[in-house]
Symmetry: C2
Subunit: 457 residues, 2 copies
């Protein structure tokens, strides 16, 4: 009996080894195909240089819809179609100016209005600035009535001690997101936030903020990390007479936009879906190269590679360019609602929205069973520098698909450089390395291949 | 008996767990110290921007000696001293010109003379170009007498399918290193090599070459990857009448230079040495930021961090700025010879010379016992994204220390971007990310700490 069990055990093991060998050969083919024939880098160049940044509702966003529609066709999708969604339309306007007056001297600070901010009245506003390091200090000063009529300056530094920079981003972004309304709660007239960025430089980082409906809407901006120190030093020296702020941004009515979807129909289980995507909209500064042009062109590369290698997927692959991740997530919402209303069976969704850097792993939101299955494949990914399968995560555009049973995976690239560029003028095509971008796309394709081959249940 | 063994086993295991917890706390302290107080990034800025590139024997190399001498003192070394070595002195001269004539049109190609190349006669040389893809093709054409009086163009593309780019570099660099003499063997008058670079751009990559003493010395240059395609296309179209080359480079007599060495004396085993280093010389284009300013400032950071945290090392730490790695390795040679003549006991040597990118592991040359010991610590490095301990390697400047019993380790950063920059004008301070550089320094410090704490035998 023992012998028999042992024999079966070794048989099972050896079959596993044979399967893993065949898989590792296929994974190498995928990698080689992307590295040698991949088009994601040149597609990203076009998206960044010929179209440029593409905030929801903009003309450029529509151009990006048209362009990626064509790319998905060219990559070999069976079907390419648009999925309509209504998106918020926030426009920056022409001028955004911040000046500190010190005696007779004016210092101009580089700023960027936060996405969703109201503008100032024509001619701008002036006021005194009160610096706080966190919400506790805000509350204390606010309760003492010291913020009334003032501009609040959140000067929370990026926590450099976290190895994963997304953790530090998570710690700091609340001042950008909720800071304006929390300041307005105590009568402040504007909110200024130190950029949630990891580099010490003069690039302000924009990003979405949200007003609390029950509080006055005050204008809000980010200043660079260098600018924050300049402001803080002048405040410490008590030499600032006034801070001048002028913003012309405003929110227009929602407009029609689209997710762009390309499919390859599955050969065995065409009604089971694997979704792979990035978001097509970006902020309206820089070129949205890493965020998230990279994720879009990588997702299209997955489809191109599968066609190029003649891989017949059992399940239906859907590559999705999600619209409007940055401000309201409407694209992700409509994709989920549609899938739910059609009772679709989703087994896996992968999003790439953490930059086009060297891939290091996948974060996941999945059942224990799904996670264990994915971890069984871990060693197949090691030759590609991909070793980290332990973090929770997924992606903003796909998160609801978990409710339909899908395992969610987020491509996890090296995070050291992301928050130097994120939502700034520095997020341009030149900041993307071709090999890093392609390796990410290759690794996403590998995961699609394995999940399709072996399922996830 | 079984119970007793089991008990001892569990006791040993639990003590290991306690030790590893204490170690992981110390490693986090090291990381936090470097990320918050580290000076390597600003030191690198000075080295790159105030001194600049620093080829062996140059005035800048001497400035770098003086500067890092001071840095090591400031970082808290007990002793800082110079170790004399004679280094080759190759100078580029003022002009280096390559032009293709096509009918009445001249196309200028960006070139860089290879380190060690002879110049052309005054007024340059003209000739016809013969393209070869490898030494086999060279040999065939050479034997047919088709290379006599010609310029040989080695057009070997970078192998993009290797995930580790150093592997592709290894495959391609022979055409740069030995190509000139191999071409001269068949009567060629010059050698032109496609840059051993992973990006498709217009930066030629220099680097050392070596003449075979028994063959004529012919001038040799690298052209960019874009330039190589331009040249190749024109050759295919058979529209090139002549290729003009002018170089003013030459080799002067050897001159005196130095390794810079800073020490902290060990408290228990002061006669056992741990060496940590990078090389101070660079090529004479760009700023030698990744190659190898990064390794130098990271090595100094190791010493600073250990002093800053009040860690008392049992063994003597030596931080070495090796001179002349790029052309003849004289610094490494003299360091080894001196150690050997003094009968020093070296237990570990770490070199950082693969760029200041996110660390991913350590390559090693060591006994099985040493390797096993290092691998026991592997999981302590995982929180820092360092997981790869399986590659052979070490570093050019430290390799001989293996003969003295030292385990050799090479910091293994992410390699995707290195050969976009290596030995080019693009290897500048701006191409280095502060967090990536610092993480590398932190990880080197951790390895020194563990090896000192537990030994390596």
């Amino acid at each position: 009996m023992i012998k028999k069990i042992t024999f079966i055990f070794f048989l099972a093991c050896s079959q596993l080894v044979i399967a893993q060998n065949a898989d590792s050969i296929m994974l190498k083919k995928i990698s080689d195909n992307v590295m040698l024939k991949g088009e994601c880098y040149k597609n990203l160049e076009y998206l960044c240089k010929k179209i440029g940044n593409r905030i929801s509702g903009s003309e450029n966003a529509q151009k990006a819809v048209d362009y990626t529609f064509k790319l998905l066709k060219d990559a070999g999708a069976d079907t390419v179609y648009l999925q309509e969604c209504m998106v918020p339309q926030w426009v920056r306007g022409k001028n955004e100016i911040a000046k500190i007056t010190t005696g007779n001297t004016e210092t101009v600070l580089k700023i960027t209005a936060l996405g969703g901010s109201v503008g100032t009245p024509n001619g701008g506003i002036k006021g005194q600035v009160v610096e706080v390091k966190d919400f506790d200090e805000l509350k204390k000063l606010g309760k003492d009535g010291l913020l009334k009529g003032k501009m609040v300056f959140y000067n929370h530094p990026f926590n450099q001690t976290n190895v994963e920079t997304f953790k530090s981003y998570g710690e700091g972004v609340k001042y950008r997101y909720m800071g304006p309304s929390e300041a307005a709660r105590y009568g402040a007239i504007a909110s200024i936030v130190r950029s949630v960025g990891s580099s010490y430089d003069d690039f302000p980082h924009t990003g979405v903020m949200k007003y609390n409906d029950s509080l006055p809407q005050i204008p809000c901006v980010a200043i660079s990390t260098v600018g924050a120190d300049v402001l803080s030093q002048k405040l410490n020296l008590k030499i600032i007479s006034t801070f001048y702020l002028q913003l012309e941004c405003k929110t227009l009515p929602d407009v029609k936009s689209y997710n762009v979807i390309g499919e390859i129909k599955g050969t065995e289980f065409p009604k089971e879906y694997i979704t792979v995507g990035g978001h097509l909209d970006s902020w309206d500064i820089g070129e949205g190269a890493h965020d998230d042009g990279a994720g879009c062109v990588q997702s299209i590369e997955v489809l191109r590679t599968i066609k190029s290698l003649g891989i017949k997927l059992k399940r239906t692959l859907r590559v999705v360019m999600f619209m409007n991740e940055e401000s309201a997530g409407r694209g992700g919402e409509i994709y989920f609602e549609t899938a739910k209303s059609k009772n679709e069976k989703h087994i896996l969704a992968i999003e790439s929205d953490a930059g086009g850097f060297s891939p290091r792993g996948f974060s996941s939101t999945a059942t224990e069973q799904q996670k264990n299955k994915i971890k069984q494949w871990a060693k197949l990914f090691m030759p590609y520098g991909v070793y980290d399968f332990d973090n929770n995560g997924g992606g903003a555009d796909i998160e609801d698909l978990n409710k339909l049973g899908a395992a969610l995976l987020g491509l996890l690239p090296d995070s050291q450089r992301y928050f130097s560029l994120h939502h700034t003028d520095a997020d341009v095509f030149e900041a993307v390395n071709e090999r890093e971008l392609k390796l990410g796309a290759a690794v996403m394709t590998m995961m699609v291949f394995l999940a399709d081959q072996y399922g996830l249940n």
